[in-house]
């Protein structure tokens, strides 16, 4: 199994994702520069967090037009697991691979803190190893994390069990319906604002993030 972590100009959490996948989950992982990304070489892709293109115009919009995203779309259509973390989620949403939009936090400030979430659905490429309705903790660090989608689309997400994670106890950014992470209808493309790669080592605060990557391995089997 080979995983690609796609690196855009301005990606920051790319090395972090590679470290967790390679050194902790122990899966063959490559950091791939967006211009050189060829999806046929990989079984899964991770779009890491950061500030691709400086978040200029809108977070994720410029990266969404990168040729690399056409290839990510192909992977998605092939049913391969694709994970968008934070800026990666923003890129997936701007590319149309996931519905909705990520708007400015209601506090209008960048927020870096650990949050609690509830696992709403274990039926996806990245949540299948969690226990349904368990609470997990991971850190967020973003300026534009407020999930928004139109009413009819929200109904669709709810009905089709596409809301995977909801903020629990406190909604840090004003996301609609407390949504922290969602998946597509085929359940192989997942986006979330919190950072699982920052919650994969106990010494850094917790290990609830590891399960997300382990779920990916399970899905590929």
């Amino acid at each position: 199994m080979k995983v690609a972590v796609v690196q855009f100009p301005g990606s920051n959490c790319d090395y972090d994702a590679v470290h967790v996948l390679k050194d902790i989950i122990k899966v063959d992982t490559e950091l791939v520069w967006h211009k050189r990304f060829d999806n046929s070489d990989y079984d899964a892709a991770v779009l890491p967090g950061g500030f691709s293109y400086g978040d200029h115009l809108r977070a994720g919009v410029i990266a969404a037009y990168s040729p690399a995203m056409r290839r990510v779309k192909e992977m998605a259509e092939e049913g391969k697991p694709v994970l968008g973390i934070c800026n990666g989620f923003q890129i997936l949403v701007e590319s149309g691979l996931l519905p909705g939009a990520l708007l400015r936090n209601s506090s209008l400030k960048f927020i870096c803190k650990w949050v609690t979430m509830r696992v709403e659905s274990t039926s996806s490429a990245f949540t299948n190893k969690y226990r349904k309705e368990s609470t997990i903790r991971m850190p967020i660090a973003h300026n534009e994390g407020r999930y928004f989608v139109e009413d009819d689309a929200l109904k669709g997400l709810r009905d089709k069990d596409q809301i995977l994670l909801r903020y629990f106890g406190e909604n840090p950014n004003g996301s609609l319906d407390d949504i922290a992470g969602i998946c597509n209808a085929e359940r192989n493309v997942v986006g979330l604002m919190p950072h699982p790669e920052r919650a994969s080592e106990r010494i850094l605060g917790g290990e609830d993030g590891r399960t997300m990557f382990e779920s990916m391995l399970e899905w590929v089997k």
């Binding site: 301005g10 500030f51 293109y53 400086g54 960048f110 927020i111 920052r198």
Partner: protein, 729 residues
Amino acid sequence: MKAVEMELSLTKEEMDYARKFLKREPNPLEWAMIDAEWSEHCSYKSSKPVLKLLPTKGRRVLLGPGYDSGVINIGDGYVATAHIESHNHPSAIDPYGGAATGIGGVIRDILCMGTRPIALLDSLRFGSIEESEHSRWLFKYVVRGIADYGNCTGIPTVAGEVEFDESFEKNCLVDVVCLGVGRKKGLVLAEASNPGDAVILVGGSTGRDGIHGVTFASKVLTERSEEDRSAVQIPDPFTKKLIIEATLEAVSTGYVHGLKDLGGGGLTCGISEMADKGEKGIEIDLLRIHLREEDMIPTEVMISESQERMVFIVENGKEGEVCKIFDKYEIPYAIIGKVIRDRNVVVTQNGRKIANLPTRFLANAPIIPRRAIKPRIKKAKPKFELPKDLSATLLRLLSSPNIASKEWVFRQYDHEVGVRTVVKPGQGDAAVLKLPNGKFAAIKVDGNSKYCYLDPYQGGASCVAEACRNLVAVGAEPVAMLDHCQFGDPNNGEVFWAFSQTVKGIADACRSFSLPCIGGKVSFYNEDKETGKAIKPSPVIVVLGLIDNADHITTAGLKNVGDAIIVVGSTGLDMGGSEYYRTLGIYEGSPPSIDLNLEKKTMKAVLECIKKGYVSSCHDCSSGGLAVAIAEMCIIGNLGARISLEKAPAGRLRVDELLFSESNFRFIISTEKPEKILKVLKKYGIPSAEIGEVSAGVLEFSSKRTSFSCSFQDMKKAYGEAIQRLVEG
């Protein structure tokens, strides 16, 4: 062709010296270059003789002051680099841009050594945010500027401090620190030492930004400063991020022989300093430089401080290999010249030499002797009655901006990116980060201008002591230090006296703790020209420490109900400059006395207890004294405590003095093994005692005559909400 009015900051003596040395009159371009390089900011002409007092050697020190960053050996083939920068004057007029570009500058200094920046710290000083709308505005936007820039470049801002005092109303201080890590064999020095090597200017284009930036920093702010538009720099962290990745990739080729960031003084300072260090010369052709604005004259090009530019010295013949990397990241670059054998800085245009100055002359400004005059400061002993409601006093202190939680600040900083941050802001006395060799780095920045105002020598030494105590409290061994000395106008004898005394205090403390200074800065002219009011003396100290074993990492929050609470060190009457006095409107008194020997022994003792596994939590006592320290441990740990004050080793003190005195050399420890700890402390001769225990609810203090308590909710509210309430209303 528009000419910029050349207002030189050089003194008559400096100009005479230049003419004498060169045996001719420099042309306008050359004058501008000399002016930039000899500015206080670039040359340290007032401060060099005093800075010589600081110890710079140590067994881990690879490079000390004089390079872009200090370098220490952390073992296993790895090195750490650290540097401190400030952007005081720009932040005073454009807090967002000034602070952001300050971060940009300090990152470059770390990058220049070929190391990867892994952490940032900020040390900020403003006027009163309780009373001044202006200071609130500066505070808000400085924090946002640092947040936006640090977050975008993906470097965690892991620790910091903020101090508020009226003396900073017109002259805020914005200090930023960067820590880097890399392999020893990948270290690059800012030296142009091989004739024939290519000089490549990489990054943003050159425009009129920041012209007179360094001379701006070396002048006192006047009312006209708000109109100084060309001194404002536009932050561009996205380009910086690309430059970080491209630089590290380029360095790994092995063909980069020298690296220098262009900051203060622009190209002039950059190339003259590199040539001087390499004992060679550099020749550049102005026409090769990418200009953003079309009608720039040579002087403007040579002193422009446009951001995000670096100079690479690349091995002759290997330019293509390195430039391929810049192409990958789509960063503009231009080969602008070469290293030459003659020790001159030569600027050409259209094949004609338009400036030609000896490197050694340009890079070494003549020292200006300064007079030091000791001022007369009254050391009064204020008298007032014991407050009736001590719990209200404690809550007031907890909500005082100098003490209150800075969570409003650090929540805006991404402190987790990089997956290295083990002890995060708000958890312990210093930040602790993972290092690539399995060890850990601890880092903290500290200053206290109130102490330094009352006694610069003691204040300087106290700052070093406090920073070291903070490191020891997290289980780290201090190994290196940076200092940034910020004062008013050095022409003022009293200011210069304070500066010399402060540096003496810092030097003595460093020598006593075997702590080498690996870098630092001096910023003068932090003074309001209209009122002549200078800032209080503000040395800012950064201490870097190492932890070998993850088990030693200690945080400040109380851990277990039933743990014993021990106070390490004796409390004396050290109220001058204290936060308690400040809340009562008292500004005189003697600042905390310093006993370097005792301080050293105490730190050694506490570190031994931590390494032996006896300590559950540890916090140093500083602002607000013992009471605030214990309250903070309760708030962070979500627990309470019962404290018997009469057990604390102390002089003859009234109860409020015992609670809020800011004596040095004290720690609070909570532990399951009090007898073991007391035994170690006794061995070192440190006065200490078990004064209470951790409880589940309230914080209670009792002594023979008084007792009072504070509820956990009240303390958390006072401490946690104060800054937010003041800034956001």
